[in-house]
Symmetry: C2
Subunit: 457 residues, 2 copies
């Protein structure tokens, strides 16, 4: 007997199998139709969104969350519509030839990008995200099962209704079945679907650490995302003071809730005037410093040289809890601070404590920088740049599916490329393996790489 | 308190972190030293191997398994040694620049290949495989924890002892710590290590379906491999009879135990003389055909046209069990046979029943072939070629880590490339994100792709 979740997952799989065969032209055309449909139905979407806002008000939702819910604040709705068009116009991520090799006369092997298949995407209560993810999924040839935050449920339901009616209206002309985009509404649906590893190929959770961690621990389906963003910056003894001050301030304070914000600052004690970095963080950034014993002693002795300001800066330091503070994503104006005696020690600390997100070295010493870039096992390794650059838009990916801290498939900020995998196409003319050496025959393989520039299969 | 498995996994992780920073020159040099060490100690390896063979004889091991154990049969030992040298000479899979992009003046982004980290490799009782996997792991900068089949345990132990003494002897000169290769010996060790997802990045199981399936179901670590190889061949109505006969015979009979052997043949009933394909399989290949009711009726009526041979060919057909035979890897001279009325129906059947390994269409009709290649969701999609080509050596990968039926990371035959992932290196000169548009500043990103030809970081 099929469960509800199996029916949903199976429908997604069947729709995905069809979508896989649809041309980029038709996929992009559908996105433009969806754009038009959402634009034409702005009224009903606004009404649904108003309902969500009223419920939010009644339940006294936090102000910042309330603001997120409002789809018609400023030009958010228009930006959402433009985003769909932008994705439609991107280069086709599917069917790209990555490798072409002649195995023998009339026997050619091609590695070709292909959709992953069926995505389960769980996201926060931002109404515009459903349109964004729908665009990315359809563009990349993947079916998607979507679950948005419950506070936006009325808006999601209306947008999803419109998207699906557009898909249905165009099914005859474009061949894309409505099952490619399905909306689910409850957490129970999510946990049931996480068991459907036979049909679902990739889970993309966007949201709190707790949510991502819980999803990772309760499914066999690969998860593209990150639970924690524990990023570190190492100030080498040859760091430029000015660069160190600017980058630590930006990385800690420009958006402390971001997963690419810095949480730990490692300092080489021989860096000239390193204490100015800490003073700058506190004074310009209001940052509370969780310092180790030796950092505290050294910092205090420097602060005491100026008795007037000493008390002010001292008020920003607290004793670190070494058993947990190096493994903590503060998500606030807090920062762990530690001395390390060498680049090697910095790399070791990071490889043990970081969440494999993004870590940076500040130095003018090329040798130390290269060692750091090679030694740190994180998806982003930076030299003299703020960890806050770890972002799909800043990388120029046009759009971002999420940031992955996995070690395989897609790492770091993930664009459309993370939603495709590849297949090997072998185009022959009747060849059999047993004619070749190694399998009983005496024909030799040619194994000649072909130029893939401009190749079109 | 650390468990034994945690200690092993942690040791692997620490060794992997060091290995990641070691140059290709040193990694390759170590492989040559290992080659020399194994060559110089052929005597003690032979003695250990003899012990395994004696134990196998006592326990009356099957003849085919016994033959596998014998490392000094023919030129197997020499081939193993040559294999280590071959891997040493391969191009460095680590540090390749896959993408380079100028984000701004003095701020360049590079996507660079990097080792996955720590591998847990479980393999069969073939003594030479330990040398092969050691070479691949070290060459790709990964630490490896190895578990070989128990029948070769003495040989493995001796080879591992030699490998580790070579690593230790050269640690000072090359900087590669002995923890990069660790041998474990019991199934309990394996199941404990499968829980160490904090330290181990990828599991590569080589062996029986049951083993792979059990491993996949008992770990959160990504698994690179395949449980089943349920491959299909579709004979379109425009298939060449000669090609269809040759390819089905090769795919079914040249190595029936192979994961790339065909298990299901789908036939368009309008293919001229399709019954000759079945007759050929039985006569030339001794293949038992598990046929559906309609195939049976049509085939029998054709066979009855020649009453002399009819009985002979009838003896090769049995009624299919449709509830299971389409989902079965026979691994024997058996084959499921079914009619499908179109390429679409063939693709649908395959997408439901295949194990996403390798599936082929035989046709002279380009349109149908292209639809099949686009529609089938398997790692290998073939046109007029035998499924038996799905193999790293035949693809020209030089060496094969395994064949993956996953949908992400590495699919199909996996060479050294499957043991690397990538990192993003950002090389700046003090830039901070908040200076740029979208984050409060007014600088625009350049986002200009750089030519990666010959780029060396």
């Amino acid at each position: 007997m099929n469960t509800v979740s199996e029916t949903i997952a199976r429908k997604g799989r069947l729709a995905g199998n069809v979508l896989k065969t649809i041309s980029n032209e038709s996929r992009s055309k559908l996105l433009l139709k969806i754009h038009d449909g959402l634009k034409a139905n702005a009224g009903s979407i606004r009404a649904a969104n108003k309902l969500d806002l009223e419920l939010a008000e009644k339940s006294q939702l936090a102000d910042s969350l309330y603001k997120r819910l409002d789809l018609f604040k400023g030009d958010k709705f228009e930006t959402m519509l433009v985003g769909i068009k932008d994705v439609a116009e991107l280069e086709d991520p599917v069917g790209k030839v990555k490798l072409a090799r002649q195995l023998d006369e009339g026997l050619n092997l091609y590695q070709v990008t292909a959709p992953v298949g069926v995505l389960l995407v769980i996201f926060e209560s931002r109404p515009e995200v459903i349109a964004n993810i729908t665009s990315l999924a359809i563009k990349s040839g993947n079916a998607a099962i979507l679950k948005g935050g419950k506070e936006s449920v009325n808006t999601f339901r209306e947008i999803s209704r419109i998207i699906n009616s557009v898909i249905t209206e165009n099914e005859l002309a474009l061949g894309i079945p409505s099952g490619v985009i399905q909306l689910i509404e409850t957490r129970q649906d999510v946990s049931d679907l996480l068991q459907q590893d036979q049909y679902i190929d990739l889970v993309v959770p966007r949201g709190s650490n707790a949510l991502v961690r819980q999803i990772k621990s309760s499914t066999k389906i690969p998860v593209l995302g990150h639970a924690d963003g524990i990023c570190s910056i190492f100030l080498d003894h040859e760091a430029s003071l000015n660069v160190a001050k600017r980058i630590t301030l930006d990385a800690k304070t420009s958006y402390p809730a971001g997963c690419n914000a810095v949480e730990t600052i490692l300092i080489h004690p021989e860096m000239p005037e390193w204490w100015e970095v800490l003073k700058n963080l506190s004074k310009a950034g209001n940052v509370k410093l969780h310092v180790t014993k030796d950092v505290k002693d050294a910092y205090l002795s420097k602060l005491n040289e100026d008795s007037q300001s000493s008390g002010y800066f001292q008020s920003f330091i607290v004793d670190i809890d070494e058993s947990s503070d190096f493994d903590k994503e503060f998500l606030s104006l807090d920062c762990a601070v530690k001395f390390v005696e060498s680049t090697e020690e910095a790399v070791s600390h990071i490889n043990v404590h970081s969440s494999k997100h993004t870590d940076a070295i500040i130095t003018e010493n090329k040798k130390n920088a290269e060692f750091f870039l090679k030694g740190v096992d994180s998806s982003g390794v930076y030299w003299n740049a703020s960890t806050r650059f770890a972002d799909g838009f800043r990388y120029g990916f046009g759009t971002e599916v999420g940031i992955s801290t996995s070690k395989i498939h897609a790492r770091g900020p993930v664009g459309l490329d993370g939603l495709v995998s590849y297949q090997y196409q072998l185009r022959g003319s009747g060849q059999v393996a047993s004619d070749y050496v190694g399998s009983g025959g005496n024909k030799a393989f040619i194994h000649k790489n072909l130029d893939i520039t401009g190749i079109q299969l």
